[in-house]
């Protein structure tokens, strides 16, 4: 059992591809690996930009009353969804929270399907029945979109239990926030998963606030990784603003889980730059604190690193931005044009049997 308390670094700071190359004396192959690394970083950057620009557009659309209900923005936390998703295969399961646009996009759900869901359209990834908080895609094993804090965690344990009983080499990844630590469902499930050795990756996005209540105001003991470790599972605290650190830790944890080491817990220290939801006046946070965290923006951090190493040209960055902007434009356009779910289908999907009169 390892606990990296207060660590700002991943347990393995080295990058997997480089590690592979370290023994090589062949200069050509090192160049090849560097190129692969650069491509990988560009992919991470693109994935984070997609989430950021998608959500910035959501804010505009909310102001324009195209999107309603609760919308919880992930801006600032993109490194978590993107880094963790890198460690998952298409066969793995993902359970998420109500702040899940980032998880859904990082999982590969097309921006069009997510945006259409925000619009409440029939082409949305939940047929317009879920909205921002309830994105689903069974084909990608993306199980929502759970808006009861910690309510998705037991369900994730069940997905993992099924894989465990069937001896399938899959991981179920469950995202939740620091607020979930105050819920019994987290503690019940942490115990159950450790007791049964389930292939479960518990990903705590510690953004320091349970809605408006700061971590030290809702937890008597704020070292979350240590508390998770007390259940007998491996737990690491990781810098959640560094996408490569997140990826490295998630790969290591997922690898161990696949090898039969049972549940792992990652506390990813992160921060949301925007308010809790569109209704939140954000009165409980110090503006200076928000600015301090913004200085650690995961996108800027990665682009700076790539520039320093001469691996990111301005043209390349502009190309990525343009590509993502066009993708978001297409998603909005498609959502605008998409049909509404017909009202006569209101009772569909309440049970698997067609409603009476069908």
């Amino acid at each position: 059992m390892t606990v990296a308390r207060g660590s700002r670094k991943t347990p393995s700071a080295s990058k997997p591809a480089r590690k592979t190359a370290s023994g090589s004396r062949n200069a050509t192959s090192v160049v090849g690996v560097d190129q692969a690394n650069a491509r990988h970083r560009a992919a991470l950057l693109e994935a984070m930009l997609r989430i950021r620009r998608f959500e910035e557009r959501c804010v505009e659309l909310y102001s324009a009353a195209k999107i309603r209900g609760f919308v919880h923005l992930y801006i600032g936390e993109e490194a978590v969804a993107v880094g963790v998703s890198e460690a998952l295969t298409p066969e793995d399961g993902v359970v998420s929270t109500y702040r899940e646009h980032g998880h859904a996009l990082a999982r590969g759900i097309p921006a069009e399907a997510v945006m259409a869901e925000m619009y409440g359209k029939a082409t949305g990834c939940s047929g317009g029945r879920g909205g921002s908080m309830h994105l689903f895609d069974a084909s990608r094993r993306f199980y929502g979109g759970n808006a009861i804090v910690a309510g998705g965690i037991p369900l994730a344990a069940g997905l993992a239990l099924a894989d465990h009983m069937r001896a399938r080499p899959h991981v179920t990844c469950c995202f939740f926030g620091d607020g979930a630590f105050a819920e019994g469902e987290f503690h019940e499930t942490a115990n159950l998963a450790a007791l049964w050795g389930l292939p479960l990756l518990l990903v705590c996005e510690n953004n320091l606030y349970a809605m408006g209540t700061a971590l030290e105001r809702h937890e008597a003991q704020t070292d979350l990784a240590m508390r998770a470790a007390s259940y007998g599972m491996v737990a690491w605290a990781v810098d959640g603003m560094d996408v490569e650190a997140v990826e490295s830790a998630a790969r290591r944890a997922a690898g161990a889980i696949r090898a039969g080491a049972g549940p792992h817990f990652l506390e990813l220290r992160t921060y949301r730059f925007r308010a809790h939801s569109m209704y939140d006046p954000d009165r409980y946070r110090d503006k200076a604190e928000v600015e301090r965290w913004k200085a650690r923006d995961p996108i800027t951090r990665l682009t700076d690193r790539m520039r320093e190493e001469g691996r990111l040209g301005e043209r390349e960055l502009a190309r990525l931005e343009k590509q993502v902007a066009e993708e978001v434009d297409r998603a909005v356009e498609a959502a605008e044009q998409a049909p509404e779910e017909p009202v006569q289908d209101l009772l569909r999907h309440v049970t698997s049997a067609p409603p009476e009169g069908d």
Partner: protein, 332 residues
Amino acid sequence: MAAGRRPREAETTYREALREALREALRSDDRVFLMGEDVGRYGGCFGVSLGLLEEFGPERVRDTPLSESAFVGAGIGAALAGLRPIVEIMTVNFSLLALDQILNNAATLLHMSGGQLPVPLVIRMTTGAGRQLAAQHSHSLEGWYAHIPGIRVVAPATIDDARTMLAPALTDPDPVLIFEHGSLYNASGELDASAPPVGLDHAAVRRPGTDVSLIAYGGSLPKALDAADELATDGISAEVLDLRTLRPLDDAAIASSVARTHRAVVIDEAWRSGSLAAEVSARIAEDSFYELDAPVERVCSAEVPIPYARRLEEAALPQTADVVAAAHRAVG
């Protein structure tokens, strides 16, 4: 059927019938497993799963920690991932600890996901009073669950139903809650092995009659049958309708019984206010108003947390004499 009587040769108890249904399900489908508190080594808190651990092993007869929310949620997740879990909760009062999972996930995921995520989960639990277990082990909250769209709620009241309702519950693509009344476990009778499967869609007339319909379910069925016997000696022919499935209600069976008898007494061990009895009465008023020759009568529990002392508990619960009196009022 009579509670507390020792079974004769060839007779089966309600408990054994439930166990046989579980055994058959575990044998016939390797996706099925049983999970809950003390279902394994202890043999089930009411002895229902006794011997199943030895036959099927700890993976498929799975003891859980006392974490209702976690293991009910785990059942939901396992169902989503292709298994067919049967989750046992000790009593309906304890199920409140898992209410988030049952309502916000099991009943909701199919619709909220636009039809992508059916939850083929079976949850069994004990309900009801009559054993002096006081106010945290005795309530009848199945009517609350029957309020929820997206789940099916059933209440086997006979040995045959105890034996046969599990299989169709497991083939249902949606969550099914099975309520076993605690007073029925020792009830015994002969199991009709040749009876055709009856499914989960229909209520059943347990005794035909012409003067009044006694509409009951679960632990109230024996009381309704006893009341019908007594009414017969008074020259009143009572029909006894066993609802069997509490959601969705078999409206046609209720209406057709009332059309035969023109009078209805609804017996429900839950509290009267906002009860399933209220729902059944409202449907009779909506669907069968012009068939009625008398106001609908309800026999429910007193509006009190069920007390421990025998005399108090008996006074709180619907009794056969109360059903007889209500039927007399209806018949006039």
